[in-house]
Every structure is written in structure tokens, then in C-alpha cells.
């Protein structure tokens, strides 16, 4: 057993909060104000006062800890950190927050995130316009941009296409991911695509963006925010909600992480090393999971993460997602809230919020019966990865 197991079950998610999500007409709030609303919802959910928060882990480029602390009235901010892992940051923060509370560096760590992903600057415009915001920075500017690759679906399409070549992964299998997320969204009144069902024909007819990615392989761009609060397991048991224990959590990066085409093992991502570490820390296996909330920026990334996290073997992801296996009632329900593809793009925090709801038994029509154990992953930049294994307390 690794030393990491020392952290198993030491910390819990004690509170979650989120705002409504939208595209048009936009949130009408600044990204900072949007996040403050999610944060106060998380405080209320946990039954904590703002003064109880002494650690804050802002999402990269979406605010500084001192700004949140000042606005909320946290008078004893003593732990602050931002993990530069893009969409993998919120799940990776579960591990760091657990370390902080287990060592006494902080008692209650707040992890917020939120943006105007629709009404504000779009990701494609940010990555096209500012070299500092592109994963890889100057490498992407000097070696990718001149050839017309400027945004995530284009970078990741290179990985998807190679996988299709090596393993025979088909468009219909990518479509199965899109359809599963959309079906789950029909059961989530808070999902943007609730009331808008999707067929495989719809999927196949959607316009190509960056082959093999069609429009319906790509996540939504939305306005919204979410937040969670981590505290020690002992403290969490005295709070308002049934705690959700952090059994295992880890983050990892591809090699190299600042560059997407030169990897010796082209399919190795951050999750490839993070997942075995997190499962070992938790002392459970992928087969034990009652559900998985997988960061679904694009359909293929779901398939790839299922493989690299060990839910199936590399190359078998296409077959794994077919036939409703990742839908509610299937072998492994994935993204029961609808995910980035059909609920909203909450920077990966939506997946954590949903995992907590499932483990509290609060997921309503989309509840996985008697959910006890679940996995949640994050994906960011050029394949940074994170994963947490969560368990309901008691």
C-alpha cells in the first residue's frame, strides 16, 4: 500500500453549490459575481459561515483567493493554491484540499469555478488570441497555429483520429457517448438540453467541425458556476449534509504535457498514471464503481478516459460505450447529469456536484439506485488528468 493511502477517507466534501446555467441571454453577472453565488449556495448547503473558510483554491485565471476572501468576509485565509491543469483542476483540487485539511493547513477549503463560457469570451477566441492561454504556450504558437490548429477540438481530433486508425473506433461509438449524455439530460431539469432529445441520425448529420469531431461531439459553452467545500471527516459529520468521503484522488500529466504530438506513447494521458494511484489509495477497483462522471469536453475524451482509467482496456472503449452500457441502468452509468455535452460546461465542477448528489441519494429521476461509490475525472489542456474516488459516509 502506498503512503497515499494514509490520506484515504481523511477528508469529505461537506457542501456543494451551483448557479442556474444558460446560454442566451447570458448570466448578466461578472464571472466573479457568478462564482460568489455558487459559493454562498455551497456554504448554505454545508451549514457553514463564510468565516469558517480558511482555504481557497480558485480555478486558473478565474479569480484570486484574496478577492474571494475579501468579498465573502473570510477573516482567516491561510491556505490558497491554484492548480494549472485546466479542466482537470477542480478534481485535482480534491486531493490537495484533502492534504490541506489532513495536515491542518486549513480546516475548510473552498473550491469555486465559474464563467460566462457563452456570453463572455469564447474558448476558441481566447486560445486564438492569447498565447499565454494556450496549453504549451509558445510551442502551440510557433508549431501549431501557423497550420491552423488553434482550439481544443482541433488538437484532440488528432488523438481521436489516431485511435480510430489503431483500434477501429467508429463514429457511431463516439455518437453513443453523445446520446448517453443527452438521454441523461432528459432526466435533469437543470440541464440545458433537457427537453431536446437526440437520435443517432441527428448526431451523424451534425456538421463536421474538426474531423472526426462533429458539432455534437463537442461540449456546450455555457454561463454558470459551481463550488464545493472540503473539510475533515470528523468535522463533516457535524455539519448539515451526509458527508461524501474522498477515498482516493490523484492528478497526472502526459509526457510531455506542453506538447501534444510528440508523445512516445501517443495515447498516454495524465489519467493513465493518476487512475491507478487513486484506486490504490482508495483500495477499490474500477469494477466497484456504481457510476463515473467523466470529463466530457468531447466524445472521444470520454472513451479514452474510460480506457486509461481502467474501466476497460485500451482500444476497447468504443465497444464499451455501445448498447447503452454507459447509460443509467447500464454497466457503468456515465455523466448522469448530462455532462459538459448536455448539461452545461461548469469547468468540471458540475461532475463533482453530480457525484455528490448521487452519493447523497439526491439525484431524483436520474438517481443510481443505492449509489455508494463513484469516480469523477477531470481533463485539461493537452491531456492533464485527475480522478477522485468518492464514497458516501456511513
Amino acid at each position: 500500500m502506498s503512503d497515499a493511502a494514509a490520506l484515504r477517507d481523511r477528508a469529505c466534501i461537506a457542501g456543494i453549490g451551483e448557479t442556474a446555467v444558460c446560454r442566451k441571454p447570458g448570466s448578466g453577472l461578472t464571472e466573479f459575481a457568478l462564482q460568489l453565488r455558487a459559493i454562498t449556495a455551497a456554504l448554505d448547503d454545508a451549514g457553514l459561515a463564510a468565516q469558517d473558510i480558511d482555504g481557497i483554491m480558485p480555478f486558473p485565471n478565474l479569480g484570486k483567493a484574496e478577492g474571494f476572501a475579501a468579498s465573502l468576509g473570510c477573516r482567516n485565509l491561510r491556505f490558497a493554491a491554484t492548480l494549472h491543469l485546466g479542466g482537470a483542476a477542480p478534481v485535482a483540487a480534491l486531493r490537495v484540499a484533502a492534504m490541506a485539511v489532513a495536515t491542518g493547513a486549513a480546516n475548510h477549503v473552498l473550491v469555486p469555478g465559474g464563467w460566462n463560457g457563452y456570453s463572455g469570451a469564447r474558448t476558441r477566441d481566447i486560445t486564438a488570441g492569447d498565447v499565454d492561454s494556450i496549453p504549451g504556450g509558445a510551442i502551440a504558437r510557433d508549431y501549431y497555429l501557423p497550420f491552423g490548429l488553434s482550439a481544443p477540438p482541433q488538437w484532440y481530433a488528432l488523438m481521436a483520429r489516431r485511435h480510430m486508425h489503431e483500434y477501429g473506433t467508429r463514429a457511431e461509438q463516439l455518437g453513443a457517448v453523445a446520446l448517453a449524455m443527452r438521454r441523461h439530460a432528459q432526466l435533469n431539469p437543470g440541464a440545458l438540453m433537457c427537453g431536446k432529445p437526440l437520435t443517432l441520425d441527428d448526431y451523424l448529420a451534425s456538421p463536421m467541425i474538426a474531423d472526426p469531431y462533429r458539432m455534437l461531439d463537442c461540449c456546450l459553452e455555457t454561463d454558470g458556476a459551481a463550488a464545493y467545500i472540503v473539510t475533515s471527516t470528523e468535522r463533516a459529520r457535524d455539519l448539515r449534509q451526509r458527508p461524501v468521503r474522498i477515498m482516493g484522488a490523484a492528478a497526472g500529466q502526459p509526457s510531455p504535457a506542453d506538447e501534444i504530438i510528440s508523445r512516445r506513447d501517443f495515447h498516454r494521458i495524465g489519467l493513465t498514471t493518476a487512475a491507478p494511484e487513486a484506486f490504490a489509495m482508495a483500495g477499490v477497483t474500477p469494477d466497484d464503481m456504481d457510476f463515473a462522471q467523466i470529463y466530457d469536453c468531447f466524445t472521444f475524451e470520454v472513451l479514452q478516459q474510460l480506457e486509461e482509467a481502467g474501466f476497460c482496456r485500451r482500444g476497447e472503449g468504443g465497444a464499451f460505450v455501445e448498447g447503452g452500457a454507459i447509460e443509467l441502468g447500464g454497466r457503468l452509468p456515465v455523466n448522469t447529469h448530462g455532462g459538459l455535452l448536455s448539461q452545461a460546461h461548469l469547468l468540471g465542477l458540475g461532475h463533482i456536484v453530480e457525484a455528490v448528489r448521487q452519493l447523497r441519494g439526491e439525484a431524483g429521476a436520474r438517481q443510481v439506485p443505492d449509489a455508494e461509490l463513484g469516480a469523477v475525472t477531470g481533463w485539461g489542456d493537452f491531456g492533464d488528468g485527475s480522478i477522485a474516488i468518492l464514497r458516501r459516509d456511513g
Partner: protein, 139 residues
């Protein structure tokens, strides 16, 4: 690039450090990769030291410029304004026997004709007065 996008300049590499040298060689019609003079490992894009043996000693070694298509994407909807008039276009990763890969494009072949494994050879295309980039043709 078509006239439609002519008003927005194509993004160009910043010619500084080893990247400036890489593209300078391209302007002279030579594809060269960094090669560690200590252990012989090739690397690209340029780095300060060898990730295999930690040596800071390296040289630009000329490549025969022959490789194969490793993967690609066909961009149907431009996500950068400079490429709005260029769709559909393919971005292609070429793998070389030296052990490095390069992102580029294939000229003289329709995007829909591109297949993984195709043998290609380097050619050069001037993107501006100062910047020439490697491009590829079927061989």
C-alpha cells in the same frame, strides 16, 4: 488562403532562439532537427537540453525529410479568423524515422484523400518574407 481572409494575417511563429534557427533552416530549404551530440537522440520541438541524458550539447542535423502520416484532422469550421476562408483544410502530423514528429500540411492532395501511413516528403512554403515552413507532398 483565399481573399476572404486576406485582411487577417495568418499567425506566424516567433523567430526567436532555437525556433528562429529551425525556421531559418527551412528558409534555406533544409529540414533540420535538434540532435543530442552526447547520446544521439533527436528532439522536436526544440528544447534546451536532452530529456534522455541531460546534455546541453546538441546540433542541427539535416533530415532527409521523408516520413509518414501519423494522424491528421480536417478542419471544416475555422476557429481562428485567419483561416475562415481556408476551410476545409487538413493539419497533418508527420512521423520521421529519426523519432520525431512534426505538425504540418500536405500540398497537392485534397484533404479527403489523406490517409494515415501515407509516405510523404518535405517541401517548403514561404508564409511571409521572413517565415518559410516545412510542408509535405506525397512521395
Amino acid at each position: 488562403m483565399s481573399d476572404k481572409a486576406a485582411s487577417i494575417p495568418r499567425p506566424l511563429p516567433k523567430l526567436e532562439g532555437a525556433t528562429g534557427q529551425f525556421y531559418d533552416w527551412c528558409r534555406k530549404g533544409e529540414l533540420r532537427f535538434q540532435r543530442c551530440t552526447s547520446c544521439g537522440t533527436f528532439r522536436h520541438p526544440p528544447r534546451e537540453l536532452c530529456a534522455e541524458c541531460r546534455s546541453f550539447d546538441w546540433e542541427w542535423t539535416r533530415s532527409p525529410g521523408e516520413g509518414t502520416v501519423f494522424t491528421y484532422t480536417i478542419v471544416e469550421r475555422a476557429l481562428h479568423p485567419a483561416f475562415a476562408g481556408a476551410t476545409p483544410y487538413a493539419a497533418v502530423v508527420v512521423e520521421f524515422p529519426e523519432g520525431v514528429r512534426l505538425l504540418s500540411r500536405i500540398v497537392g492532395l485534397a484533404p479527403a484523400e489523406i490517409r494515415i501511413g501515407m509516405p510523404v516528403r518535405v517541401d517548403f512554403e514561404a508564409f511571409s518574407e521572413t517565415v518559410t515552413v516545412p510542408v509535405f507532398r506525397l512521395r
